[in-house]
């Protein structure tokens, strides 16, 4: 119905309807949009509103400690301060001010902040780590000038004991992009990750689990307090501690004995395979990598000719020299090719084909025990031909050569143990002869072993024929439940008859204890020990010196392998070093290598 009007269209029915329709359409659009936002996309917006208002603070876990076998703390964790910036509040004035306080380029600071901003506006970005207390105090004093700046307490490694054990322990570094891509879930930019040695191989045990704190923030980025009273917070979990087989006192002794040498030393428990000491020289102070490493230090270590970062104990290959003779002997005895009565006459040389293989002395008539004692080359030149390459390879493998030991330290070499296939590959089929094999009899030529393999080898001779699993860690301690987990290690019997083992051990005992033995400088006053010297031919310079041994002869407690680069005859310097070490372990005091004895030995050979 309409009003009294004159112009035709005023308030007409049609126009009423149009207006009502228009209203309906407009409000329908609004309702639909409301429906879309609140009911269809509800979860998406709910999530966004949570992201707005809750800041997640990651609580880094405390890394586990490392103890030696006596329970002495050798690697600890201490506080390290990192200055952080929140991207949302950061500005160029702050960059300049901070640059001055931290002695950093403001452009670099801004770059870091911008990188972090892509991840989150509010998550603090580490600007500089491991700042000293003085710098931190200065920052704190100037906080009113620095928007969004704060600091985090991180942890860094502290090295307590007077040992380095740099290669065994290893160090941690900031996580790389590649590692982040792989383990991204539990790590974030800037986290420390073990990157060598035990720090690396036991990373998952040592690290622990990080925790999360949730804090309510307003649009200015101001923290208002813990979300829901901290109910949703997750506490961080400490990492596990490692208890090593290592004896810190012994390690310190070993490191000082090796000070002026290049080479490696591995001391092993012949009953368990636990590593009592491991030294590789030159080495470095592991605290260089703790906190933040100055780039000069890193460059220096990387470019040093002596390769201090390289673990010679596990990664180097040297020809074993005469120390390999026991393998040949074991093969021959076990295969029934010879027995204790078998003798040859050593004339100082061995002719094979057109070559003459020399011996250092004329030994006369020797059996296997004496051949080991006096380190007669001729005996073994002809013995290895009897044994043959295949059998040699087989027994070499038995004693742990040619394959990695599986030790729980990051990297190791498998060494080189030749076989027919190997020579075929290197020289070509029918292009090599038994002449190559002859040198193997005295551990020279294409054969390479690591000091770790040698220590295991010595241990298997010490313990009567069991090949052990070398390991650095003895137990892992779980702080959360106060429980130890023992590292499970099995030895594998070599399968040699007691007679074979007995003869070989006798030969080694004779080498140390009886006159004419090459290892007389390894003699430990008061007890009987056994060992074998060796000299690795070095085509590039002076020969390397080897000594392997164990003590006491009955019920051995320690087996040792020593390699001194460019030090000439094994009996001269390596043997007395081993003696000093074993004495320290058994009696608690270090015998100084007697220089007179060395001089005398030098003149004798």
């Amino acid at each position: 119905m309409g009003a009294v009007i004159d112009s035709g269209e005023f308030g007409s029915r049609q126009r009423q309807t149009v207006l009502r329709l228009a209203t309906l359409v407009i409000f329908s659009i609004l309702f639909l949009r409301l429906y879309q936002l609140q009911l269809v996309s509800h979860t998406e917006f709910g999530k966004k509103s949570e992201e707005n208002s809750v800041r997640t603070v990651i609580k880094d876990p405390v890394r586990g400690d490392i103890y030696d076998r006596t329970g002495r703390l050798i690697v600890d964790v201490g506080p390290s301060f990192a200055v952080t910036a929140a991207p949302a509040s950061f500005d160029s004035a702050t960059a300049r001010e901070l640059g001055e306080l931290l002695q950093m380029d403001p452009v670099q600071i801004t770059e870091r902040v911008n990188k972090g901003r892509q991840y989150s506006r509010f998550s603090p970005v580490r600007i500089k780590r491991d700042v000293d207390f003085k710098t931190l105090s200065a920052v704190e004093e100037h906080l009113y000038l620095l928007r969004g700046i704060s600091y985090e307490v991180e942890s860094k490694r502290l090295y307590n004991a007077p040992i380095r054990a740099s290669h065994l322990l290893g160090y941690c570094k900031e996580i790389t992009e590649a590692q982040l891509a792989r383990y991204g879930d539990t790590y974030r930019q800037g986290d420390l990750v073990g990157s060598s040695g035990l720090e690396s191989s036991y990373e998952t045990f040592l690290r622990g689990e990080r925790g999360f704190e949730y804090i309510a923030v307003n649009s200015k980025g101001q923290q208002l307090g813990p979300l829901e009273g901290g109910q949703r917070d997750i506490a961080s979990k400490e990492g596990f501690d490692l208890v090593l087989s290592l004896d810190a006192g012994l390690q310190a002794c070993a490191e000082s004995l090796m000070t002026q040498y290049k080479g490696a030393l591995v001391a092993m428990d012949p009953n368990t395979g636990g590593i009592l000491a491991m030294v590789s020289k030159p080495d470095f102070d592991p605290s260089v990598f703790s906190g933040v490493t100055a780039s000069e230090d890193w460059t220096r270590l990387n470019t040093d000719d002596g390769k201090p970062l390289f673990n010679r104990a596990t990664m180097s290959r040297y020809p074993p020299g005469s120390t390999f003779k026991m393998v040949v002997a074991a093969a021959a005895l076990e295969e029934g090719l010879i027995d204790e009565h078998y003798r040859i006459t050593c004339t100082g040389g061995f002719r094979f084909g057109r070559r003459l293989f020399r011996d250092l002395h004329v030994h006369g008539s020797v059996n296997v025990v004496e051949a080991i004692q006096k380190s007669c080359n001729v005996f073994f030149y002809q013995l290895v031909l009897k044994v043959g390459l295949d059998k040699l390879n087989e027994y070499g493998k038995k004693f742990g050569f040619g394959h990695a030991t599986g030790v729980d330290i990051a990297e190791e070499t498998s060494g080189l143990l030749p076989s027919e296939a190997y020579y075929d590959r290197v020289y070509g089929k029918d292009k090599w002869t038994l002449g190559n094999v002859v040198s193997l009899g005295v551990g020279q030529g294409e054969i390479g072993v690591s000091p770790l393999q040698m220590a295991r080898y010595a241990s298997s001779l010490a313990n009567g024929g069991i090949l052990l699993q070398p390991h650095a860690v003895d137990r892992i301690y779980n702080k959360r439940v106060n429980r130890y987990s023992v590292v499970d290690v099995h030895g594998v019997p070599l399968g040699l008859s007691p007679k074979t083992i007995g003869l070989i051990r006798e030969g080694m005992r004779a080498a140390v204890e009886l006159p004419g033995g090459t290892g007389s400088l390894a003699r430990i006053p008061g007890i009987e020990s056994a060992g074998k010297t060796g000299t690795a031919e070095n085509p590039h310079g002076k020969d390397h010196a080897w000594y392997i041994g164990f003590a006491p002869f009955d019920n051995p407690k320690i087996a040792v392998a020593v390699l001194l680069e460019n030090s000439g005859f094994g009996g001269a310097k390596a043997a007395p070093l081993a003696r000093a070490l074993m004495h320290r372990y058994l009696f608690g005091e270090t015998l100084q290598p007697e220089r007179a004895a060395i001089a005398a030995a030098d003149s004798r050979h």
Binding site: L19, H42, S49
Partner: protein, 405 residues
């Protein structure tokens, strides 16, 4: 007395108005109680009381009185607007406030009321017919005057509201379709010009077709088209003279997410607030976007976020529903009213309310560009609240006098 009540008291408008004001007070409290602006709630309550009185006075005024006062009011408002332009202080970049005896006032809010009343009074005259060109032009001038002064402040938002009210008023008063098209086509063309040359030409083409279809005579078509082209071509000039923030608002309207920390920030946060409310909301005083102040000036232009976030779909629908009911009721009053003044007045008032709701809520939900206009009854602001409640009073008045001629 009871008889009078049933016959003449506009209960619907009264209750809807109170309900929305109450919701507004609740929302403002929630948005402001724990920060520096806690005083806003109290101020709004005072203004609500004043508005309530104003509403009742307006509702019970005799019908003729208002009609007689209309032109006087209009003249006063024009003068005040002029003074404001010259003397008024700048708040948020617009000379729209006017301090008198320590109280702030926004004359443009009252200008809306005065213009509608003046236009309704004019069109209600026996000798005036909207179909006559002269009368049409005068009506346009009644709107154009305040519109120009407000645009000069510059307050684009309110000027747009004026325009959005003009069309339904003309439509209801009986303007011919051609006139309406002739007014709409320049807008269409201007819009096209904003987007680009190709769009401008397409819009001009459509406009020409529409004009021709609804033609009354060819001359009129030519003139109208000419005006449209002129408007379209001058769009660029006007755009360039807009303040930077207005330009940016138009630019980021289409995609607020591209500048989430800048011009698009409000809308992005607003959508998050409303969307995250879900079905039943996060609870009163528990909306995280609101309580943690993620939406700047939340108690004014983005007040709709509060019921959206804290009372969810249920709450937001309730608010929208109340508004829809009020708009439909206004149209009913216009239909029922036997006198032209009341009828056109009702449409005018309803159009103001509807436009504000559509633009403000649309803006909060990312459907419209950010044009700074308040949500009636809810947004914080004394002048707007009082003016709106007076308009509600007018509706009640028109309802009461619907049987008068």
């Amino acid at each position: 007395m009871n008889q009078y009540f049933k016959e003449y008291f506009d209960t619907k408008t009264f209750l809807i108005c109170l309900g929305l004001v109450a919701m507004g007070l609740l929302s403002i409290y929630s948005a402001t109680f724990d920060i520096n602006n806690a005083a806003n709630f109290h101020r709004q309550a005072v203004w609500a009381a004043i508005g309530f009185v104003g509403m009742l006075i307006t509702a019970f005024l005799p019908a003729r009185t208002i009609q007689r006062l209309a032109f006087g009011l209009y003249a006063t408002v024009i003068v005040v607007l002029l003074i404001v332009l010259v003397v008024g202080s700048t708040i948020k970049g617009a000379r729209s406030w006017f301090g008198v005896a320590g109280l702030g006032g926004q004359p443009s809010e009252f200008a809306k009321v005065a213009t509608i009343l003046a236009a309704a009074a004019y069109l209600a005259r026996m000798e005036v017919s909207i179909t006559r060109l002269k009368d049409l032009l005068i009506t346009l001038a009644i709107f154009a005057g305040p519109m120009a002064l407000i645009l000069a402040q510059p307050d684009l938002g309110t000027a747009i509201v004026f325009f959005a009210v003009l069309l339904p008023v003309l439509y209801w008063a009986g303007a011919t379709n051609f006139i309406l098209i002739a007014i709409l086509v320049p807008i269409l063309v201007a819009f096209g010009a904003l987007f680009g040359t190709a769009q401008f030409l397409i819009a001009a083409g459509i406009g020409a077709a529409l004009l021709y279809y609804f033609r009354e005579n060819r001359f009129a078509v030519a003139v109208a088209f000419g005006i449209a082209l002129a408007v379209g071509l001058s769009v660029q000039i006007v755009y360039d003279r807009l303040p930077a923030y207005q330009q940016k608002r138009i630019a980021t309207f289409l995609n607020p997410e591209t500048d989430p920390l800048g011009a698009g920030y409000n809308v992005v946060q607003s959508k998050i607030a409303i969307g995250s409310g879900g079905l039943a909301g996060k609870g009163y005083l528990r909306g995280t976007q609101t309580q943690l102040n993620y939406i700047p000036e939340q108690w004014t232009d983005f007040i709709f976020c509060v019921p959206g976030e804290e009372f969810g779909f249920i709450g937001a629908t309730l608010v929208l529903g109340l508004f829809a009911a009020l708009v439909f009721h206004g149209i009913n009053i216009a239909t029922l009213s036997k006198n032209k003044f009341g009828s056109i007045g009702a449409i005018g008032v309803t159009a103001v309310l509807a436009t504000h709701v559509a633009v403000n809520v649309g803006m909060s939900m990312g459907l419209m560009p950010v044009i700074g206009i308040p949500l009636p009854f809810l947004s914080y602001g004394g002048s707007a609240l009082v003016a709106t409640m007076v308009m509600a009073g007018l509706l009640m008045n028109f309802y009461a006098n619907r049987k008068e001629h």
